[in-house]
């Protein structure tokens, strides 16, 4: 069972994000960069599958050279090897370019399952996994909160507004996982040491045959403006000295909800 897990390095989501006023892109300088916490669940899901059935987990990412750190984190969790697609021409790529680059980089390789987070925590469009599935002509099992693989099929509990659907697809397939699917392991020291010696292959656009078809040369959209949203005004903040509940009840009464 060979699993490919797509990961993204993002600015620490616990630090407030900033846009460059000139380029209207995310500021990446001077910000801590981390493996997207949503992707840790994807890595964990992949590791659990190969621990049960054997095989390897390959981690793939697209980003600047330092995005290798996010791959190393996944390797420290236990993934076997990494692929980093990195090319100056890929700066400011949109989701479809990322999907094209990943599809290009894995051409000719076979994976039973490709796992992604449902969406990145920073961009959060959630488009890339479905676009990748489309380019590879594979079924997509999306929003999985449970994943099982058996008899050449993947079966998930797919999140819905009312509960969940049980959905099945033959392998190979693309799966997106929600945070609820598992608790991601924390890399052990031994894993961190081993990760340093694991292979991370770096490829550029030329090597994957996509010159001019991804990144800057193939932008489908452009951000033309970014303005601060109207903010809510903070109201009254009181410290509870035994009267807190009464204050809230008075407030609810004034709003005529009780």
């Amino acid at each position: 069972m060979n699993v490919l897990v797509c990961v993204k390095q993002i600015p620490d989501p616990n630090a407030p994000g900033k846009l460059d006023p000139q380029t209207k892109r995310l500021v990446r300088e001077g910000v801590d960069l981390v493996l997207d916490p949503g992707d840790e669940h994807g890595v964990e899901a992949g590791l659990q599958l190969v621990e049960k059935d054997g095989g390897e987990v390959t981690v793939i990412s697209m980003g600047p050279p330092k995005a290798v750190d996010a791959i190393r984190r996944a390797l420290a969790m236990g993934a076997n090897r990494g692929i980093l697609i990195t090319d100056p021409a890929l700066e400011n790529s949109d989701a479809i370019s990322t999907a094209r680059a990943i599809a290009g980089a894995i051409k000719g390789q076979s994976y039973d399952l490709i796992i992604c987070g449902t969406e990145s925590t920073d961009g959060s469009s959630g488009a890339m996994p479905a676009q990748l599935a489309e380019l590879l002509e594979l079924p997509l099992l999306s929003f999985a909160k449970k994943l099982e693989v058996a008899d050449g099929k993947a079966k998930i509990d797919r999140q819905t507004d009312e509960g969940y659907d049980v959905v099945e697809a033959p392998l190979p397939a693309v799966v997106t996982v929600t945070g609820g699917i598992n608790e991601a392991r924390y890399p052990a020291l031994r894993g961190i040491m081993q990760a340093k010696n694991k292979e991370v292959k770096q490829v550029g656009l030329g090597e994957i045959g996509l010159d001019g078809q991804a990144g800057k040369a193939a932008l489908t959209q452009e951000v033309v403006d970014a303005t601060p949203a109207e903010t809510r005004k903070a109201g009254e903040v009181v410290e509870d000295k035994g009267e807190g509940a009464k204050r809230v009840a008075d407030f609810l009464k004034a709003l005529k909800v009780i």
Binding site: P16, G163, V166, V167, D240, V248, V257
Partner: protein
């Protein structure tokens, strides 16, 4: 006039609430049409017309209900090639996102997600999406030929009937649906029962975060919600920890809610959460950390221990209701 199509998700022939929001927006941008797929879809045409669809494409094959995304993408690709709309609007829902994303890769056209507004600009479109938990509004313009695909967040537009619209032209489609390719098939559907009103429709929401300390403490939220006739919601941290099912999650990856009153209990107010609830008319927050960002949004904030205050609040509400 520009052709603005809406992907009209229906359940047993009833359009999802977001569809009526999307049509309200679409008819302000051009000739609105709706595409309604799956068994019972033809029952939805009158409502879709009422909200502004001049034309409704209907295909009732069961595959649209039972197979994820791909049958809808195949059909939309054919319809787009034939009738050439300028804009395709989807709701930012589980199915909407899958279909829109696959279709954008198929057509090679721009996809803009998480939108709250679309307007015509210089013969094209300008799309507004909130970023960083809604603290910034970003305007994006498409650069590709062919229809622009936009995913609009539920509750971003207020749905309103078109008023004078007559019955829409209905085009019934019967072309065969190809499911010979490997597909993702729905085997069965499970409903997680929640008592009280649905989160999306509730006038009052009582929502809990990590500050509750343990999953069993949600019981007091259920109790408070029952007293207030409120729905119960949760932050992502709580859902990720497995305390509550995903269907309770409010925020970026969960639901967007706009209740009259939102009561945040033990919720710090991370941007991923606030983007889904800052449209509430009134926000009340109780949290032990005076620095919690939720207090910057709250109309009334109480710095204190939820475990102490919530049981007292239940009593206060009960006694006031008695009067």
């Amino acid at each position: 006039m520009a052709g603005a199509w809406v992907f009209a998700e229906t359940v047993d022939g009833v359009p999802k609430p977001v569809v009526l929001e999307l049509l309200t927006k679409a008819r302000s941008l051009g000739d609105a049409a709706a595409v309604a797929l799956g068994p019972g879809a033809s029952k939805s045409t009158a409502t879709l017309g009422e909200y502004g669809a001049k034309k409704v494409y209907v295909h009732e094959d069961a595959a649209f209900r039972d197979v994820l995304a791909t049958p809808a993408v195949d059909l939309l690709e054919r319809l787009v090639e034939k009738d050439r709309p300028d804009l395709l609007i989807f709701g930012m829902t589980y199915d909407g996102r899958d279909v829109a994303s696959r279709l954008s890769a198929r057509l090679g056209t721009a996809l803009i997600a998480n939108a709250t507004d679309v307007s015509a600009k210089d013969g094209g479109w300008a799309i507004i999406s909130p970023m960083f938990g809604g603290s910034l509004l970003v305007t994006t313009v498409p650069k590709t030929k062919g229809p622009t695909i936009v995913l609009i967040r539920p509750k971003a537009v207020a749905a309103a009937p078109a008023g004078s619209a007559g019955a829409p032209e209905v085009q019934r489609l019967t072309d065969s649906v190809d499911t010979s390719k490997p597909v993702a098939r729905v085997l069965r559907r499970e409903t997680e029962k929640a008592s009280g009103p649905k989160l999306e429709d509730a006038a009052i929401i009582v929502s809990g975060g990590r500050g509750l300390g343990a999953p069993e403490n949600f019981k007091m939220l259920d109790e408070l919600a029952a007293e207030l006739g409120a729905a119960v919601g949760a932050s992502r941290a709580v859902v990720d920890a497995g305390w509550k099912p995903y269907s309770f999650q409010i925020g970026q990856t969960g639901k967007t809610v706009k209740p009259t009153v939102y009561i945040a209990l033990g919720i710090s107010g991370a941007m991923q959460h606030t983007v889904g609830m800052k449209g509430a008319r009134t926000i009340i927050a109780i949290n032990k950390d005076p620095e919690a960002p939720i207090f910057k949004l709250a109309d009334l904030g109480v710095v204190g221990d939820v475990h102490k205050i919530v049981p007292q609040l239940i009593q206060e509400v009960r006694s006031r209701k008695g009067k």
